[in-house]
Symmetry: C2
Subunit: 320 residues, 2 copies
């Protein structure tokens, strides 16, 4: 008996199937399909569960003293350029192009669109790109010397990854409830490890067969495979996994990432108490994020597509 | 005495100044500036007011029977292509480009980024663009013959407009609480006019000097000026305006738009009861949207930057 079955998995492993799960979400009005993959609409019940999950995370962390922000789905493009995002994840990036021309070019643009001809060469790159991970816009806002206990910031932001897929949990656009910690290395690692435990407990408390594991980011190409090995060897990234569309390849519902001084070096974030802004005082950072849509989907997968049929304990945890 | 002063405008017309207002929002932690214009972060208090405004709109409309959806910030690119958006507003569009190449091109991309050289020509257009108005993703989901009373759908979506500006109310990325009505022409127009009245009353009930006016969309170029005149002459668009950064040019906090059969023709949406799907049965649609950040900013402009100092009646309206 595997972990899933022990924890009351209802539908049997034979139903771990992408299409069955997708069609069930659609049939019950939980998602609204659109022409492109990974950009579907969310229905009212789906959203009510998502808001309840987010509120549960707020309750769990209410005594942590986090500063709360919301950033828009588009961010300063130079953040990606300065943090080597385009080295590591060029295939996932979403940059924003707009029409920067005058009347004559606008006429050509219109003609091309109406003739169903390619028109991408008539538009140009703007100063913004889509936010690839909820924490990115935060770092430039905390440049300088940190307060004594560092900083703790939380956000719910829409993020974008260019990975269209028919698999419902692999979206182009989704919401992440994120926490970012900046401070001394020890404090940051301790905080990350504390939250890994919290994440496992929260998801198990919702009746999900959650298991933590060491993980790696989906780095691009051959060099990326080496980066991923290094990341795993150093245990920089953990995930909490729950089977949603596959028993063999469970879905990461949250991830916990220790960046060392990667972001702090770029954005000149320093630990408190250093006499100088020397590199020995560079802060360390970590972030963690709950993929809110994925948590919601895992709940519908394990407790059924009808909210009223969910176990009472789960509903009470979400709506106390 | 003008409408603003009659309704208790506190700071005097000499303070209708972009920089004063922007700096006040920043100083009080309501927004968090970033390097690019119109993409700032929102602080906790700002968000709490935004959520309260959105909840007030939900209460006002609770008996209307609207279906509730959430769509992501990116939508199917062909929606813009098919609805002539690129004819009317090419300068506002945001299309999403990503890296579609292999290892060799990725190396060149990395080299260019690290050398601070342009790299836009190394990436290509994806199937998604940013949503330019909250209602766009809805129309393709209601293709077909409408139910007897038509459809009413509401959403809170992030929208994008490529118009970077230091003026806080002119954002690249912001949230719109939207309602879409589809049905018979008379029903749609009556509904639009009812909401115009509701919008004025709601904003005045929050102590804002709100005035309705006929309006036009910011169509591009010389031909656009003619389109705008036609739109005004036909009274297809109304706005409710409140002075925020200028007394002479008040800010539109909400807009009410009658599309006639523009969207329904493209997406083949038909009125109930027609024996055939002939063009005489094409439905009409209208939409209305509250610019949530703009409503919040108008409240801080008229009641002061400190929430606790707001008039009791306004706070009770928002948090009953």
């Amino acid at each position: 008996m595997n972990a899933s079955n022990e924890r009351g998995e209802r539908q049997g492993s034979d139903t771990y199937d992408v299409k069955t799960f997708h069609d069930g979400l659609v049939k019950h009005g939980l998602i609204v399909p659109v022409r492109v993959e990974g950009a579907f609409g969310r229905g009212a019940v789906f959203e009510s569960v998502l808001e309840a999950v987010n509120a549960l995370i707020t309750r769990i962390s209410k005594d942590d003293g986090a500063d709360f922000y919301t950033f828009p789905p588009v961010i300063d493009r130079t953040i990606l350029e300065r943090t080597d995002y385009l080295d590591s994840f060029p295939h996932l990036v979403g940059t924003v192009f707009s029409f920067l021309g005058k009347e004559r070019q606008a006429k050509e643009l219109s003609d091309r669109v109406h003739a169903s001809k390619p028109w991408g060469d008539l538009i140009g790159m703007t100063d913004v790109c889509l936010n690839p991970a909820a924490c990115y816009p935060v770092y430039p806002t905390i440049t300088g010397i940190l307060p004594e206990n560092g900083r703790l910031i939380t956000m719910t932001n829409w993020v974008y990854r260019h990975e269209p897929s028919p698999e419902p949990t692999r979206m182009q656009s989704f919401r992440v409830r994120e926490f970012v910690r900046a401070g001394a290395p020890d404090a940051v690692v301790t905080w990350r490890d504390m939250w890994l435990q919290r994440g496992v407990e929260m998801l198990r408390g919702l009746g999900l067969p959650a298991e933590p594991d060491v993980a790696a980011d989906p780095f691009f190409g051959r060099a990326g495979a080496i980066l991923a090995d290094g990341q795993k060897a150093q245990k920089l990234k953990f995930e909490v996994l729950v089977p949603v569309v596959s028993l063999e390849n469970p879905t990461a519902l949250c991830s916990f990432n220790y960046h060392q001084d990667h972001f702090a070096k770029v954005f000149e974030i320093y630990q408190h108490g250093g006499a100088t802004k020397g590199s020995e005082n560079t802060a360390h950072t970590a972030c963690l994020g709950f993929g809110l849509e994925r948590v919601v989907m895992a709940l519908f997968r394990h407790h059924g597509f009808v909210l009223d049929d969910w176990p009472k304990a789960v509903r009470e945890r979400l709506w106390p």
